[in-house]
Symmetry: C2
Subunit: 251 residues, 2 copies
């Protein structure tokens, strides 16, 4: 159980619930992870940066599918139409002119081969499992829990604002052009998290549901954290790359 | 087992597979159902027409959800972007300016209350079960089977071309305006069924998968047929309206 595991036991006011959700982010969002700190301090090797982009692609590519899982479960056309914007953003009009394509551009801008990245064959198993757990969560849990798990978007403008200037300043091979993915995200993340937060506030109307919403955000923070843990373990100083995973070229 | 239950046992050429799929439609699509014949011959009472529109709404309202189930299962952004157009069409930009809204207009144009229709509370249980089976099918079967089950769209321009002129000619309370839903459908159905048929042709590349595709279209025809069976039984001459279902006002 997380330290937030009984935060709602006595019931929370809307303001208190929002406060707890923000506290979850402050404690457990992946901008607190050592790998993120290494990235922003300029300490990553190019191979580590490539491994990050390649693994994160597997997360990006499942986002529209978890959003479709959420749409599938809603009986409210208005909700579906709002949530559909997320799929629009990631897949674009034709599948390859949205967020996934922009992430691919980031990966290839770091020197990776597009087909290798798209195949996802060199992704760490732990990344696959974390991403798979997220898709399963959004498919099988309550709609409230699935929506609440998206609330990491509340914090993504923070990590982007930490990540982008540092990446540009600290790594000479990184240009503004290859980081185009991040230009679009803060505005979209704010739109999406405003909607999701309003949904959670409306539907988490008893202590049990409030706790479920909090737990869902904790779960999602765990997903993102586990992805960086896996990167750190596989591509850290010692190097523990599991069989079949991406092997950076020697520097 | 349907009469098509071993149609692919020896393997089919693409042309033969397409021929079988069309034969399924010719034999089992719901334009062959007696209720459809009653509708086009002018024999339905207004209460029966209302019951049809009210029950069919439950089908319309689940379409974007089954399409989201299909999107959720595809790892191909291009496929997802193409299939997403179906959700766009049904939900529209804001949930209430697409096909579902136009079907609601049809129902209210027939004198039904919008909130009663939207609540789906008066829908026949057999309709719910058929619609639920369709959603479950698209969620749990292979992607090929889910896509193939959509191929009833191949035949929908036919039923619409039979239905609309007859409805306008035979029922004085029906106007072109309230049938606006059907204006848009033939072009969209052609676009969608072209794409789905090409997908099936490409992916049903052995006898087992060809049979699965054929069976899926049979299944979907069964869904549509069962909905009209339920209407005929509940609202036919004898009248066997189950507890809790829509009761037309006396003529």
């Amino acid at each position: 159980m997380s330290e937030f595991g009984d935060a709602a036991r006595n019931g929370l006011s809307p303001a208190q619930l929002e406060e707890v959700l923000h506290a979850v982010g402050a404690a457990r969002y992946h901008n607190r992870h050592p790998f993120h700190n290494q990235m922003t301090s300029g300490a990553l090797t190019k191979g580590q940066m490539q491994a990050w982009a390649l693994n994160r692609y597997a997360y990006q590519s499942v986002i529209p599918r978890k959003d479709a899982a959420i749409i599938m479960r809603s009986e409210d056309p208005e909700f579906r139409a709002e949530w559909r914007k997320r799929i629009d953003d990631h897949d674009g009009d034709d599948g390859w002119n949205g967020g996934i394509a922009r992430w691919l551009k980031l990966a290839t801008g770091l020197g990776l081969d597009a087909n290798v990245v798209k195949s996802e064959k060199l992704v760490l198993p732990a990344t696959r499992f974390a991403v798979g757990a997220y898709l399963t969560y959004c498919t099988n849990r309550t709609l409230l829990e699935a929506v609440a798990s998206s609330l990491t978007e509340l914090f993504s403008p923070i990590i982007i604002s930490e990540r982008v200037p540092a990446m540009l300043a600290k790594y000479d091979y990184i240009t503004k052009d290859i980081l185009a993915y991040f230009d679009k995200r803060p505005a979209l993340a704010s739109r999406d998290s405003d909607f999701a937060l309003a949904y959670v506030m409306k539907h988490a109307n008893n202590p049990e549901k409030q706790q479920a919403a909090i737990d869902s955000l904790v779960f999602k923070c765990d997903v993102l954290w586990a992805m960086l843990d896996a990167l750190a373990h596989a591509y850290g100083e010692k190097g523990n790359i599991p069989p079949g995973a991406f092997v950076p070229e020697p520097a």
